[in-house]
Amino acid sequence: MRSGWAVKIHYDWRLSRVLDEDGNVLDVILWDARRTPSTLAERLSMIQAGRLLPETRTLLERFPEATPDPLGAMSDPNWPEPEEGEANLLQEATTILAKRGVADAAGNIDRRLDMLVSATAELRSAWTTNEARCVEWAGLFITEADLDNQRTMIPLAIADAPNIDGAATALGVAPPAHAPTEIEWAALKSHASGVVTSSQRLQEHEDAIREIASDYIPSLSALMGPLGAAKLVVLAGGRERLARMPSGSLQVLGAHAAMAAHRRGAPPPKHGAILFSMPQVSHSPRWVRGKIARFLAGKASIAVRVDHFDGVPWDQEQIDGINGEVEAIKAKFPKPPKRG
């Protein structure tokens, strides 16, 4: 009786063969169905995913002691040469697979969040520059306007007014001493309309992030807000990577420069940009920020694992509990540590 361990099944998309340890073919099944590029694409993606083809499975039922070897056929000197037309069929099937893979990338929420979050970040940075310029530009003419308290109204007033006097009236102040020329006013007005439009676009972008994040990472969104949660996922390069990340790494996400400096000997960063944007960290006294950031990073790490590995999403009760603990940390360290 032959021992079974050396019996192997070699296969490719065309056929499967059972071989004994001396390389003798014990059994063979050919793929004899109608060959089309799309059926071949199915078979190739099955093999790629590590699943067995129907022929291989049948052979395995006939020879339960045999082991399928996915790399065996390639080095098998007796493996049949490709026949006429088979190379072309493979070519067409791989093109189908490649295109399907490209199309499937849009089904990946991580990639969609990346586009949204990056677009929002770029839009926001452009918006800040333009909005500041618009306010300064309008303020140069409308000297009576309050550039702090009326800030949000200024771009709207300019965009809607027929001329600079109208904008001043809309803001409830006296008309300016000097007016821009007609073409200069047109430039200022269209600049202001741009600011107003990009404010709306920013709002739409962030609403889209909120909707996706609340569904995709509900616990993390509940803990730190959907926008911050989405940014963390994007910085980590996907939800899975964030879920597998140690909480110490999550804590310093967004602090690339500080981490690079730390590798050269500087003290470690207490928190990255995202954690710092949480009021629990940024509105706490500086001597407890590191402690709170470390605590929240630990909780965020658990939250994203709950979301990724199909746990029960956190509700407000758990978030309140966490915020209570943050208050306890602050209460425990009311005074800055003495320098010694």
Binding site: D12, P70, Q91, T95, A98
Partner: protein, 206 residues
């Protein structure tokens, strides 16, 4: 390729292979041996890991397959990024014998279903850590006896804890040397491609 210079000479078209854009072309210029020893044979089976959008792959395909694949070669080009695969798949549509594979170039099982046999020529160009270990695994699985294995090693992709560029290259060379492979030549691409070294390997005598 974008911005490529071409020249037509009757029925023959010549394409410029830019050594500052292709590590294989750079290695051809910098090798101390015969440049043709780095290239695959016409009509052979080639495996390209980390094909990107297919710049270098197109030149390899020209050599191995020719227009309409009249040489009967096969170039299997593996790339994990769907964005790059988009361009690569478009390239493959006009190039018979070029097989685009969307998948992880570190897994032999991902590549095996597409390749018609052991490869006579392998080039690996991946921006990941553990490039040398990956290359050993893939070359042992796929390289044919007597075949050429090229590893383009990017120092910046290896882990920061492995020290500076030179020690990263040395570590890779040690890993290759301790494996079933044999390092035939170490080609420094300085001047053409910074922080890159190409290792030309062959399957050693076992």
């Amino acid at each position: 390729m974008r911005g490529e210079r071409r020249k037509r000479d009757g029925r023959i078209e010549w394409r410029r292979w830019d050594p500052t854009k292709s590590k294989v072309a750079a290695a051809l210029q910098r090798t101390k041996g015969g440049p043709s020893e780095l290239l695959p044979q016409t009509g052979s089976t080639c495996l390209y890991l980390g094909a990107s959008s297919g710049g270098t792959v197109s030149h390899i395909h020209d050599i191995v397959c020719g227009a309409g694949n009249h040489h009967g070669g096969q170039v299997v080009a593996v790339e994990i990024s769907p964005r790059m695969m988009r361009d690569l798949a478009a390239l493959a549509e006009g190039r018979n014998g070029l097989v685009p594979v969307l998948g992880d170039a570190r897994c032999p099982e991902m590549v095996a279903p597409f390749i018609r046999g052991r490869a006579d020529w392998i080039h690996q160009d991946l921006s990941i850590a553990d490039q040398a270990e990956t290359f050993v695994r893939m070359a042992v699985a796929f390289l044919a006896p007597g075949g050429v294995g090229l590893l383009s090693l990017k120092a910046a992709s290896e882990r920061a804890s492995d020290g500076d560029d030179d020690s990263r290259f040395a570590k890779a060379e040690r890993i290759l040397g301790e494996s079933e492979l044999e390092v035939v030549e170490r080609i420094d691409l300085a001047g053409l491609e910074e922080q890159h070294v190409v290792f030309r390997c062959a399957l050693g005598a076992l």
